[in-house]
């Protein structure tokens, strides 16, 4: 700031604010009160036009911030430098304990952010804040000795006289959502500055309202989507499980693929698994997959046999909406005395799971190839198949997003089942989570950043006693 010369002509009270001529707290007796003051018009090295343009430009950028806290930080940071040395935003709080967020220029041009909260008693002493928050004043000025003076001294690290200060309301949906206070060591705030600050605070208020609304909706959406996301795999004593899910929509965590593993209901042995890929994409598909998962949970209370489960699910889905169907593989796993697992599964329209045998042989669960979609026609017939996983062997269930991934370096050639088998041959001996992760990595490399469907893998393994590569 180059306005240091103005200090000589400004009135200053060691215990109060520096105020523009004609408004001195000390009145006309002030020895510095002189005629030249009228010429000390410039409040900052920038012209008013530059100032205005700067803050307006900056204010517009606020609307892209959707997280209230981040927005407030940015809102107090922007006026620094050209406009103020310190900027504090007070937000009202139902408890009567206003929160403040402050930005101060630290001398190197980097703003420092700090926050805190006032007690009810302190807040009560800050008359200007009450005026803005509760009375609805358009502009307020802290009196000497106001609690904000102490805050400003601490934040601005000032021991001597303090500079000028201005506070304007930050409008909310009803009344003021907060108060924006700016402070400057040198120079003072003119009426036109206050108008500009008022305009800036309105932009802040608008953006803050949107951000709070967005946050509310995002929280709601997030709660709903959590119910549709795959649940974390349970820890199961006799099996090692791994899964990987990558949604077709980059910014999503939900999709039309689903998988689930649950310990058998009381009285049953082992655990149940299900895996499917519903028709369609996006939110609709996610909702349908959520409905299928819930239906299966209910059906499992009375039925464990894979074919019967598929038949019931088929009828349920067909009657709900014949346009909505899904591929499904589901079944049961029962621990065997030697540490292996007996898998009984049924499938409808889903790629057959691949079995990674000890030694690296990969085979298809042949009884499950093809079959009809679940939920398309009421008369659909489903088949089951059985296999035994010896310790260390893995069953890999996958969605067609894996095998239909396209490689942009190969003119969009699909990954195909052959490559998946070849990959799995090299995965013998890997723990199930590493198998699922390795498939995701391989498909990701194959895609090279290209678009894709949901890519989902579930690996069920009979744990081996020792290190897998012995």
């Amino acid at each position: 700031m180059s306005a240091s010369g103005a200090d000589d002509v400004m009135s200053r009270d060691a215990h109060g604010w520096k105020v523009p001529p004609g408004q001195q707290a000390n009145g006309p007796d002030d020895p510095h009160h002189g005629g030249e003051v009228a010429g000390a018009h410039s409040s900052a090295p920038h012209s008013h036009e530059e100032w205005t343009a700067l803050l307006r430009e900056a204010g517009r950028g606020l609307s892209s911030l959707l997280h209230p806290e981040r927005l407030i930080e940015q809102a107090v940071r922007l006026p620094l430098g050209e406009v103020a040395d310190l900027c504090i935003l007070f937000t009202s709080d139902p408890s009567g304990r206003p929160k403040w967020t402050a930005a101060v220029a630290d001398g190197t041009g980097k703003p420092e952010i700090s926050r805190g909260r006032w007690s009810q008693r302190t807040a009560a002493k800050a008359v200007w804040l009450t005026e803005i928050l509760d009375v609805g004043s358009a502009i307020a000025e802290p009196a000497p000795g106001d609690p904000v003076e102490g805050l400003v001294r601490t934040l601005a690290r000032r021991e001597g006289p303090v500079g000028s200060v201005r506070a304007v309301p930050v409008p909310g949906l009803t009344g003021a959502a907060g108060a924006l206070l700016v402070y400057r060591h040198d120079g003072y705030f003119e009426e036109s500055d206050t108008d500009l600050l008022t305009e800036y605070a309105e932009q802040v208020g608008g953006a803050l309202g949107s951000a709070q609304l967005y946050q509310y909706q995002a929280d709601t959406a997030s709660t709903l989507k959590t119910a549709l996301q795959p649940e974390p795999l349970p820890e199961i004593e006799h099996a090692l499980l791994g899964a990987s899910f990558r949604s077709a929509i980059a910014a999503e965590r939900i999709g039309g693929d689903f998988y689930e593993v649950r310990e058998a209901e009381a009285g049953g042995e082992g655990f149940d698994f299900s895996f499917g890929d519903v028709c369609g994409k996006g939110n609709d598909a996610a909702l349908l997959s959520g409905m299928i998962r819930q239906s299966l949970q209910a059906l499992r209370l009375v039925e464990r046999d894979p074919v019967s489960l598929l038949e019931h699910l088929n009828i349920l889905l067909t009657r709900t909406d014949p346009e909505k169907f899904s591929t499904v593989v589901l079944g049961t796993a029962t621990p065997l005395p030697d540490g292996g697992l007996r898998i009984l599964a049924a499938g409808g329209g889903h790629p057959a799971p691949l079995l990674v045998r000890s030694g690296g042989k990969v085979e298809e669960m042949s009884g499950l190839v093809g079959g009809m979609f679940v939920g398309a026609i009421e008369e659909a017939v489903f088949h089951s198949a059985e296999t035994i996983l010896a310790p260390g062997e893995t069953m890999v269930v996958f969605s067609d997003g894996v095998t239909e991934a396209r490689n942009p370096l190969r003119s969009g050639e699909m990954l195909g089942e052959e490559r998946l088998r070849r990959l799995l041959e090299g995965c013998a001996g890997l723990p199930a989570p590493a198998v699922a992760g390795r498939i995701a990595q391989y498909v990701g490399d194959w895609l090279g950043g290209g678009e894709h469907d949901d890519i989902t893998v579930l690996a069920v393994q009979a744990p081996s006693a020792q290190g897998m590569l012995g």
Binding site: L65, H67, R70, K110, L409, G429, L430, A434, Q441, G470
Partner: protein, 349 residues
């Protein structure tokens, strides 16, 4: 923390060797046992993470590049390393005093980067120091990252990039974080040996390893977002090479390695896949070097290729022919040519 046992340099060397041997044979149970035993014996958890677990990524990477390990083996080793990080954090949470709360940090691997052990170690160190850590895992799409940051508003994003070929995506992720006012600390082998690339891509902080990253973050939030971002050099070659990516791979396949020409034996399916992937990677490293305006990105890539070829007792002839073809194809772009020349020198050094 109770009084940590003094760390003598190399005190963990024996434990690290034992741990790595168990990881190498994918004996998860034994490996986790080694870590837990060391904790019970009084090992300082951070040092255990840094000196025993973290080195797995680099060692596995070297073994994979020299052809001793498959990618799957490397991946499984890293998985066990990540489990060990979890075991350390859980053990400390169950037995140690809780550290003072610090703030919220999001840890993510760059889109297209599938090596997450270093990022997981960082997550572990930060949790031990009292940070609330959201670990987003491998290959995080930029849209998914932006959504997470908007929703959770962390104090900082820790971005890991293990492979320079993914620096273009890293730049997009740093930009996405900055747009929503989240500062970024960058790390991982992909950012190179110093802070040059991290700064050039706009990261606010850089650290060479997890411990130094945690030390930097100890200063505590809020962190400052760098105001003046250095503009990346506009490379016309970058756009050109990006457009020709697939064509360059095919031309190199035909002219450097004789695929599809009469009289030369065709690569078998798996070999062909491998060849295309290798060539795609080479072009991606060239692209990244052009994008960030640092030829050494390509130079370091080919220096590692040279080491790997030596370890496998193979000559560099095949790779040199690829560089020949790329030089012919990109002859009108001086910055592409000079980058390829730096690569050639590194390969033949």
């Amino acid at each position: 923390m109770t009084v940590p046992s003094p760390i003598r340099p190399g005190a963990f060397a024996r434990v690290a060797e034992e741990f790595f041997a168990q990881v190498a044979r994918l004996d998860e149970e034994a490996a986790l046992g080694t870590v837990r035993d060391a904790l019970i014996a009084g090992a300082f958890p951070e040092s255990l993470l840094m000196e025993v677990v973290a080195p797995v990524q680099e060692r596995a990477d070297v073994l994979r590049r020299s052809g001793e390990w498959t990618v799957s083996h490397e991946h499984a080793a890293a998985y066990i390393g990540e489990r060990a990080v979890g075991a350390v954090v859980e053990h400390v949470a169950a037995h140690g005093p809780s550290p003072a709360e610090r703030g919220k940090v999001t840890v993510a691997c760059t889109d297209g980067d599938w090596r997450s052990l270093s990022a997981r170690v960082l997550s572990g160190v930060l949790s031990l120091r009292g940070w609330r850590v959201a670990f987003l895992g491998v290959s995080v799409p930029v849209g998914s990252l932006a959504l997470h940051l908007q929703e959770t508003g962390p104090d900082i994003l820790a971005l890991s990039c293990s492979m320079s070929a993914r620096l273009v995506a890293a730049h997009a992720m740093i930009g996405a974080a900055h747009r929503i006012q989240v500062p970024v600390i960058a790390g991982g082998a992909g950012f190179g040996p110093d802070d040059f690339l991290a700064r050039r891509l706009g990261a606010d902080l850089w650290a060479p390893d997890a411990l130094q990253a945690a030390d930097l973050l100890d200063a505590g939030p809020p962190y400052v977002i760098g105001r003046e971002e250095e503009a990346l050099p506009a490379s016309t070659a970058y756009a050109e090479v990006l457009q020709q990516r697939e064509g360059l791979v095919h031309t190199a396949l035909e002219r450097a390695w004789g695929q599809g020409s009469p009289g030369s034996p065709d690569l078998q399916d798996a070999e062909l896949d491998h060849a295309v992937e290798y060539l795609g990677n080479t072009v991606d490293f060239l692209l990244a070097a052009l994008y960030v305006g640092d030829r050494q990105v390509f130079g370091r890539y080919l220096a590692r290729t040279r080491e790997a070829l030596r370890a496998r007792d193979e000559t560099a002839d095949g790779v040199l022919r690829v560089l020949d073809v790329l030089e012919e194809e990109l002859g009108e772009h001086p910055d592409a040519l000079s980058t390829l020349a730096v690569g050639r020198d590194a390969l033949q050094a």
